[in-house]
């Protein structure tokens, strides 16, 4: 039941229909960060469709996606895997106490050249 709820949420907030996927794997062929991920873009699509959301939610892969949209741009069937990955990550960080990045971690990460943009973006991606 829980699982179905997550699947529903992921589908709703991503606006993606994983059934459109024809399993060509072009997303994973395009992904620049493929080697850093446990689950790869094409797996996100099929695992969301199979309702295996929790497996994805506990994987560090959700924080490795660069949201560079290469998979979205090149998908021949307009499935938009990056939107699914984002939605799975949101399912995690929207839960109480699940922020991936905490403000008190920031100071040690800073260096003097680091642009604000990086901190702002990371906050938007990793916290709620």
């Amino acid at each position: 039941m829980e699982q179905n709820n997550f699947k529903e949420t992921v589908l709703r907030i991503s606006g993606v229909n994983p059934k459109k996927c024809m399993r060509c794997g072009k997303c994973s062929g395009a992904c620049p960060n493929y080697d850093e991920m446990e689950f790869h873009p094409h797996q996100f699509v099929s695992m969301v469709e199979n309702g295996e959301i929790e497996k994805l939610m506990t994987s560090p892969s959700v924080y490795k996606c660069l949201t560079c949209f290469a998979c979205v741009e090149r998908c021949p069937r307009q499935v938009e895997p990056a939107k699914l990955i984002e939605a799975v990550r949101l399912c995690v960080i929207r839960q109480a106490g699940q922020n991936h990045l905490k403000p008190d971690q920031i100071p040690e990460m800073l260096d003097e050249d680091l642009p604000q943009q990086a901190i702002v973006s990371a906050f938007r991606k990793f916290t709620k």
Binding site: S14, Y63, L66, F69, K83, P115, Q117, S121
Partner: protein, 259 residues
């Protein structure tokens, strides 16, 4: 001609050169950049989820402010540009988001994506014209081999950004040509630099940025140029190369003799 200008947070601090020369050059090219009063940070990343409303408001406020003045909204930071253009696209096409945003803001007149959003480089091409820039160049960057680095933010998603061919863009190369330099075409110019992951795990941007600079150098680049402060940071810090990385506005200012 006067346009609304959205500088963004980083241009006020770490990327002052991007902002400073953007203003100077625009003035020299006959375009007044009118900074939007009390603009708010765009958030750095476009909120992808369909149920994100609050995170889109700052962009909508800037867009609506430009609409009120009847001006085009110009951004120069690639990230701000990506966020604002995509939020604008949502306001044009997604009825639910449009409705919720307008209910929340409750303005006199609802905002429905009327503002035209241009990146600074698009402004140079469409409002000024690269030909005119060529005429105004006093200090041509002749002989310099410059690699344009687009990254992901300017180009994708291609249909929404409508910036250039997302897999084989040419706008920055045309710009470089207008400045008298020689553009370098290399395949990694639209690959990601690793972005904000540098905060958590610099190893990833390191691999990505090294790939980008390697590819640029393989093809003979002497200088790399970008419009994004974070790309600049990653290429410089994580790129593992001494090759200079500069903002597009710095190149422009140099060629126009304003630096």
């Amino acid at each position: 001609m006067t346009v609304s200008y959205y500088p963004g947070c980083t241009l006020k601090t770490k990327a002052k050169n991007l902002d400073l020369y953007a203003r100077k050059c625009a003035e020299a090219l006959g375009i007044a950049l009118e900074e939007i009063p009390e603009w708010q940070c765009c958030g750095g990343c476009y909120p992808v989820a369909k149920d994100e409303i609050a995170t889109k408001l700052s962009s909508v406020r800037a867009l609506a402010a430009a609409k009120e003045k009847g001006q085009t909204l110009v951004t120069v930071c690639s990230a701000c540009h990506n966020v604002i253009k995509r939020v604008n696209h949502d306001m044009q096409t997604d009825e639910e988001i449009r409705d919720k945003v307008n209910r929340y803001r409750a303005p006199d007149e609802p905002y429905e994506g009327e503002t035209n959003v241009l990146h600074y480089i698009e402004m140079l091409r469409d409002l000024v014209g690269f030909d005119k820039i060529k005429e105004k160049v006093v200090n041509p960057l002749a002989g310099k081999k410059i690699a344009a680095y687009y990254g992901c933010l300017l180009l994708r998603p291609g249909k929404v950004m409508a910036f250039d061919n997302p897999e084989n863009p040419s706008i920055l190369e045309d710009f470089i040509r207008a400045l008298g330099a020689e553009p370098v075409l290399y395949p990694a110019r639209n690959e990601c630099c690793g972005g904000y992951l540098t905060l958590e795990d610099p190893e990833i941007p390191k691999k990505r940025s090294e790939t980008v600079l390697q590819s640029a150098q393989n093809h003979g680049a002497e200088v790399v140029t970008t419009a994004c402060p974070l790309c600049l940071y990653n290429l410089q810090k994580n790129g593992g190369s001494e090759i200079p990385v500069v903002y597009i506005t710095e190149l422009l200012a140099e060629a126009l003799g304003l630096k």
